[in-house]
Homo-oligomer: 275 residues x 2
């Protein structure tokens, strides 16, 4: 290369050298574009509903997500209209998002079931012809997310990915039990015999699988556990799903199923926007 | 200017023109530095203690603070040693920070009093000769902060600044009652007759005032309300403190006194780092 470039010292070769340099630059810009196209998009589905702590939780959550690149936020309001101040939080996040509302389908559990299904329907419709990789993740607005969860775990999910969740249910931490890189069981307190003993925050599914299936939180799931019922519909045994974080050193929890305590509801709003 | 620059077209003036341009550039870089120096530093004092939800809260909080520039984070562990995984959260935040520990002084309330005093002592020692503006803010790790709080409110505090806090105590929102730009009372549920009826998250104090006083959460405050006892020591009547946010449209809450519900403590840690 250096020898070849030496000829550029001669003035008469300058036009050829310049053309060569431009071609090299164009090639590298093209390669950069190709690499960008291969970065999987993370589609985050968030059901949300009006409650006094919601604005605090959504603000915190939006500021967490705004650290993550290549993310599309699908937010579904539980109600019969969207809410202005929530819309403003989404606008301020700087993230690409869609925000719509849905009321709970009759006979379905409240809070989330219908809305996650609506989120899945949105994804199946709008990502049908998406010719780039993507991963779908259900993220509630009151959980706590370490931003490494998105780039280290979720973005690398090729089929179904599963990881530890802190403060899940009544447990300090719930995690897949992994031996030689394979999930052989579940280190959980509640119902360890479930096929997929994971919290909603503890898994993500590649878009390809979502598009190839009709998996949802359907009526048949109502008397069972929603996460396990949903994941079984992809017909992938737990031994073939991807565990994350089990071989990290130190082994860290990157997502916690937290809940904000509700206490502050007395007194007026004094002109401030509250819910 | 354009006429003057026209002479640069003559080749013999090039050295003078170049010198002139360099001088202009140096002047602008100098002015830029001067402006940077005038941006007040926000010194955030955070007491923290080991509990199952702490890693979730500190992770969330660090990711919020990492959006804020010109901030120095003073974190005081309630205990007799600092904690590795907390230190790693602080490291990852990318913020300048200091992290040290203190045990509760005998006879003092637990959780925070001693640690905020230690934070103030650190500030008085290390910012004694700080010749730039700065503001001190007490921020607990489980509250919820809209990042606009820092740049719109805290950074503009010249003496004492006070603003609304959501979910404070049992109230939906507590705020200073402002008439014609002056605080005339307190829109609160609990003890409205306090001199300063504000939550710990609802005020900040300019560094100059901190350095000129010995204000602290001292023994005499123990039987009273800490925020009001602390703020009275600056001898500034409430009518002369700066209210923020009261004239915004819409009137928004930028900080909430949230608490993460503690439920998840059953089961083992399965090799994961927990508290």
């Amino acid at each position: 290369m250096r020898g070849n470039l030496a000829v550029c010292a001669a003035r008469r070769y300058w036009p050829y050298c310049l053309t060569f340099l431009l071609l090299v630059t164009i090639y590298h810009v093209y390669q950069w574009g190709v690499r960008l196209q291969q970065i999987p998009t993370i589609i985050v589905i968030t059901p949300t509903h009006k409650r006094p702590e919601r604005l605090a939780d959504m603000t915190r959550f939006s500021q967490t997500l705004s650290h993550v690149k290549h993310l599309h936020w699908v937010v579904i309001e539980d109600g019969n209209h969207t809410v202005d101040i929530v819309q403003r939080i989404l606008d301020r996040s700087g993230l690409p998002y869609v925000y719509f509302f849905a009321t709970t389908e009759p006979g379905f559990p409240r809070r989330g079931w219908t809305h996650r299904n609506q989120g899945l329907a949105y994804v199946r419709k709008n990502y049908k012809n998406f010719n780039r990789p993507a991963v779908v993740y259900f993220a509630d607005d009151d959980n706590s997310y370490d931003i490494r969860l998105f780039d280290k775990y979720i973005r690398n999910v090729k089929t179904i990915g599963i990881w530890a969740v802190g403060l899940s249910g009544t447990a300090l931490v719930e995690a897949p039990h992994v031996v030689n890189g394979t999930i052989v069981g579940w280190d959980v307190v509640y119902a360890p015999k479930r096929k997929f003993a994971t919290d909603m925050a503890g898994f993500a599914v590649n878009l390809d699988l979502i598009l190839k299936s009709n998996a949802s939180f359907h009526r048949g799931c109502i008397k069972t556990v929603p996460e396990s019922c949903f994941l079984q519909q992809f017909n992938i045994p737990k031994e073939n799903v991807q565990p994350f974080g089990f071989d990290d050193d130190p082994k860290e929890v990157l997502v916690w199923h937290t809940k904000t305590r509700n206490i502050g509801t007395k007194g007026g709003n004094h002109g401030y926007i509250v819910e």
